[in-house]
């Protein structure tokens, strides 16, 4: 039940939507849902990896806005400058991930504190640099990421490709097995000769790089530097992973199930919006779904 819980819940939600609002199955709303899911999904991929090593990354929304500022400043509205913008953003992302990882492993700072501090630092540095007004312009070429490839949004295809790649790494390679081992019992992993710190640092770097990917997709989506870009993605990505069965304590949970969690969270958000529910009620429903998921998993965990 634990393993298939999220898929059953997703199926149930899809069925409820079919009864309550069948128009959600028209191509247009479906396209929008998949596109929004892919934006959150890129962040959730990184967040899931970090949670598998018993971590947490609260700096993701800072990395997203930073990426959009860099893309606009370096890109300056010209498609030919997308690549330098992309490389510099990835460079910043890697540095932030490295700093998070070093703080957590070498200085033993709890992940919550380290990444929250990093979020504040990124925002401060960015405000100081831009003086509140980010100049530059997002290159139009990035809008391609939000257009369609056949019936699917380009960003959705990218998200699926990254999910497949990371799932392969996690389930087939020794790297993946060691990530799970570190999350289950860090000390045991260390004693069995796994370079734990290096793995944890690598996971935080990968997470930040994936979030830079989300930042690029979102920059193309909005077309402007929006200071609220990615707001809420930190908690939504954690919620999606938890709904997908990823344990806060680490070492337990499936990447693919977490991505089903993303679809579930996003489909639910869109459905509530299409129903025209008040935002307050939307938050209550979303909160209940996350709490319900955690409660069910812990119940199932105890029984097994």
């Amino acid at each position: 039940m634990q393993r298939y819980g999220v898929y059953c819940s997703l199926a149930l939600l899809l069925l409820v939507a079919l009864v309550v609002r069948p128009e959600v199955y028209r191509p247009e709303p479906l396209f929008l849902i998949l596109r929004s899911a892919s934006q959150l999904g890129m962040v959730a991929l990184g967040q899931t990896l970090v949670m598998l090593v018993a971590g947490l990354d609260l700096s993701v929304s800072g990395v997203i806005v930073l990426t959009s500022v860099v893309i606009a400043q370096v890109g300056a509205g010209q498609d030919s400058r997308i690549l330098p913008g992309l490389l510099i953003s990835l460079g910043f992302g890697a540095l932030i991930g490295l700093a998070n990882g070093l703080l957590i492993t070498k200085r033993n700072v709890p992940p919550f504190v380290a990444t929250l501090g990093m979020l504040v630092l990124i925002r401060g540095a960015q405000s100081a640099y831009t003086q509140g007004i980010p100049s530059g312009q997002v290159p139009d070429g990035l809008k391609l990421l939000n257009q369609s490839l056949g019936p699917l949004p380009v960003s959705f295809v990218i998200w699926i490709a990254f999910t497949a790649l990371l799932a392969f790494i996690l389930y087939v390679t020794p790297f993946g097995r060691r990530v799970y081992a570190i999350g289950s019992n860090r000390e045991a992993a260390r004693l069995s000769g796994i370079p734990v710190d290096r793995y944890i640092i690598a996971v935080y770097v990968i997470c930040s790089l994936l979030v830079v990917g989300a930042g690029i997709i979102l920059s193309g989506y909005v077309g402007y530097v929006d200071r609220y870009l990615g707001r809420g993605f930190d908690l939504d990505s954690i919620a999606a992973a938890v709904v997908g069965g990823v344990a806060f304590s680490g070492g337990r949970g499936s990447l693919v199930a977490a991505m089903a969690g993303v679809l579930l969270v996003q489909f639910l958000s869109s459905l509530l919006l299409i129903i025209g529910m008040d935002v307050q009620a939307q938050w209550i429903v979303k909160g209940l779904v996350v709490i319900g998921a955690v409660a069910l998993y812990s119940l199932a965990g105890r029984r097994s």
Partner: protein, 396 residues
Amino acid sequence: MQRKHNLSSLRRVLSILGEAKPVKRTAVLSALMVMLSGAAVRAEDAAQKFTQAEVDASPYLKSVVARQGTMADTSKFRKKGPYKIALAAQGPTNSWAALFDQEARHHVDQLGKDKVSELLYASADGSADKQVPEVEDLLSQNPDALILVPMGRAALAASVDRAAAQGVPVVLCASGVDGDSYVTEVGTNLYGLGVRMANWLSDQLGGSGNILVMDGIPGVDTAEIAKAGAATVWRNKPGIKILDEQYGQWSTSEAKKVAEQWIAKYGKSIQGIWSDGGQMSQGIIEAFQEAKLPVPPIASADYSNGLLRQVKDGHITFSAGQYPNAMVILCIDTALKILDGESVPRFIDFRNAMEKTQDVNTSNMDAFFNPKWSDDVFPPIFLPDSKMVELKYMKQ
């Protein structure tokens, strides 16, 4: 009362003009222009009347209307200059607030050291928690007046009380606080703004049509007040049908996501939009343009240069209210008036006292749009072009 206030201000400005040193004349002349243009927009403002039922139903509106008609006796604050003015600002957390600070510094420079000897500045970084101790620090430096951009209505009430107890006159700038111990508040009637934007949209639709409403952030009083103002209009216009009402969190990306779902659901039946913020209006317009649908008339609570660019390029019918960061100039001038012992209204609407603060729409937008400014600039700007270029807010 308002008229009396403006006439006495005008007399004062004229008397200063007679004795002003040449180097200060430009500043005084610009102040005179501000006063005169205030007179020009007063007729428009006077047209916005509220029924007693409306006033009774909204504590905010009741307070604003009452304070606009009450003069504060400031004789006890009269003292000789030059003055030490404290400014507890939001801090450069966004473009609006960044330019607010620049306008303040530039205006103080223009006034000269013989008028304002020192500007004590504190940035709250948008946080009430940070602002409370900062105000304490500012007060410990014994300023002659405190200009406060409150980051929380309840949180800063005690700080204002403390300043009053210390004998420091407080000018609230851009937002209000609970309590009554400040001298005056400079801002605008947000309820009235909601009403005007709703009436404009209704007029565009000839009194009937399907509209969508996007509010700011739930529970934030500035968003809820404008929403309540618009709601009174919708109640009295049976022909206006609200298809849906959602919060866009004052975010372009959030607004675009919501608007896309609206378009998917209602498509071409959407005839008008009421949006409580320029950055959300930008996201809504993007969604319509990407869906290759004509953008319906859009009423926006405020606007940025980027929104004007979009509206101009897309030939979109729109109207927007103003919330200029340059209102800090009026806040500083009001603090100086108080220190001069001149009585001031307890609520000063910048629409009555500053030039270029009337509502912007498709027909007059050219006076507000500047193609050389970056998209994130909130007009009107009173900084000289050379300063804007220096600050990298403007292309050469």
